[in-house]
Amino acid sequence: MNKIWVYIDQFKGTALPTSWEAVGAAKTLAGELGGGVTALVFGKGVEPLAAEAFHYGADEVLLADDPTLDDYRPEPFTALLAKLAGESAPEVVLFPTTSRGRELAAMAAIDLNTGVLPDVTALEVKDGALLATRPIYAGKLLSKVTCLTRPQLVTLRGRAFAKLPLDTSRSGTITRVSPVMAEADIPSKVEAYAAGEAGVSLSDASVIVSGGRGVSNNPSLTPPPGLDEKKAEIWKAQQGFKLIEDLAQVLHAAVGASRAAVDAGYLPYSHQVGQTGKVVSPDLYIACGISGAIQHQAGMRTSKVIVAINRDPEAPIFKLARYGVVGDLYAVIPALTEAFRKRLGK
């Protein structure tokens, strides 16, 4: 009996990386709870994802391939998931903590009258039930949580669980399932997509280079004439973020920013790391010109290795840093980009 289910979050036929991490976590749970791992693949033209799910460790795939599931919409996806779970009574359903995964878990929990453990960073099995660890207050505290009802719905934070090595010799059973809502009954319609900026997403990045207010602080730069004070500051910041982007490119890193930097208009909000932005946990976090307010620290303090580059030797960020440089980021970052380019052969 397959007891552990995993929802595979995909966009236009490509799975988000946390989906495979969730399959890895499911495999570990199946080892402890018994049973196998069933992956749920919903969409249109998504059959190749079923094979990929087997390669990452799934034993069975429930595949719904239908035009009404082409664009993710919460209502038809929830209705289908809740119907399948209602019939098969899985013990656990894991979701990646993505915009879609979190929403789907939330809504399916209402249909199934059960609970959701959202954005979990660690899982253990105790007395046959899940005991999950999740950060609260942006990670300033941790909480152990359990679900009193079944199925136990859990969304897993990106990079908190390891995916299994890809094994292309693995395969499994595909069971085809049909959607439960007709197009006419679906209360919303996706009209268009506008692609976001290209580049590595903050939540999935193993390396992040972030900039703060200090990025605009280069007295030797002269903005083009005709800009008011505010625009001149943003222009200066953009010159600084170009250097940060160069370093990020060499390190295959995502670009982050402090709240001060996004509020000042240096970068869009989607780059914000911190309590009211994204909480990240990369292997390497390089903070450039970020003083390190408590709200920013909450968003990055669990990074494995933190490097701080700042003019101000008293900046609180240095207390979190493994390596610190007191200096001018306009001089240090380009030199660091060059140093890594040599070492990484790019």
């Binding site: 950060p135 390190l251 001018d328």
Partner: protein, 259 residues
């Protein structure tokens, strides 16, 4: 157009949190309106201004949650309601959403309910989607732009923020929205608004008023604890030119074997 906006009172984002006897303790840090909810209030007020509507702020909590409601009133909401009940001690997102959905129904003829994307204390981010599901209304979460509303046709067009960029979605009203920061800076309470809010009498609804009983959480949280202390020895890279500092720093990072 009648809009409900749901707000929560939380410890300030600058608060230092510690676990004391298994509970979250924020010392003498102030309690404030959840920062994400200010964006929800802003979105509600903008739509009410455009469509000649009203905005009712609602919060669940003890008497001190009236402060969050007063902030919403000072920003410009027309009314506020506090839901307070002695039996509401253990609340998970599902209980919260059942209470909000019942309150929205009781308000009557609500065209749109708007929430922040998540509360900065529990960080669950589930309430908007769950409230929508309970009401049977479309869920439009993580909205960055409300493009248009057609009150006659009872339709709404929004841009949602997803991992891949912006998704333009049309839906039928009534609907439940959650708002993200890209929406734009929320307004500050005006002087007149603050005066009006300070004099406002905020009605309190109990669960009996909402026709609810027997609510119980599906989640239990047996333990709240401090994150493990990290022992960090900071090594400052000093001396020489920026190039020499960069070379030395790059060597040390390479030696960490994380790249």
């Amino acid at each position: 157009m009648k809009i409900a906006v749901c707000v929560k009172q939380v410890p300030d984002s600058a608060a230092k949190l510690t676990a004391v006897d298994g509970k979250a303790n924020w010392g003498d840090s102030p309690l404030v309106i959840n920062p994400w909810d200010e964006y929800a209030v802003e979105a509600a007020l903008q739509q009410a201004e455009t469509h000649n509507g009203s905005v009712i702020a609602v919060s669940i909590g003890s008497e001190n949650s009236k402060e969050a409601l007063k902030h919403a009133l000072a920003m410009g909401c027309s009314d506020a309601i506090l839901i307070s009940d002695e039996t509401l001690t253990q609340m998970d997102s599902q209980v919260t959403s059942r209470v909000l959905a019942a309150a929205i129904k009781k308000m009557g003829d609500v065209d749109m309910a708007i929430l922040g994307r998540q509360a900065i204390d529990t960080d669950t981010g589930l309430a908007a989607a769950q409230t929508a599901r309970l009401l049977g209304w479309p869920a439009l979460t993580l909205v960055a732009v409300i493009t248009s509303i057609d009150p006659g046709a009872r339709t709404i067009l929004v841009q949602r923020s997803a991992e891949e960029g912006r998704q333009t979605v049309g839906a039928r009203l009534p609907a439940v929205l959650s708002i993200v920061k890209d929406f734009g800076e929320p307004r500050y309470p005006s002087f007149m608004g603050i005066r009006k809010a300070s004099r406002a009498v905020i009605p309190v609804w109990s669960l009996t008023d909402l026709g609810l009983s027997g609510l119980k959480p599906n989640i239990s949280w047996p333990e709240i604890f401090n994150p493990p202390q990290r022992q960090i020895t900071t090594e400052m890279i000093t001396g020489g030119s920026p190039q020499e500092i960069a070379e030395s720093l790059a060597d040390k990072i390479m030696a960490e074997k994380i790249l």
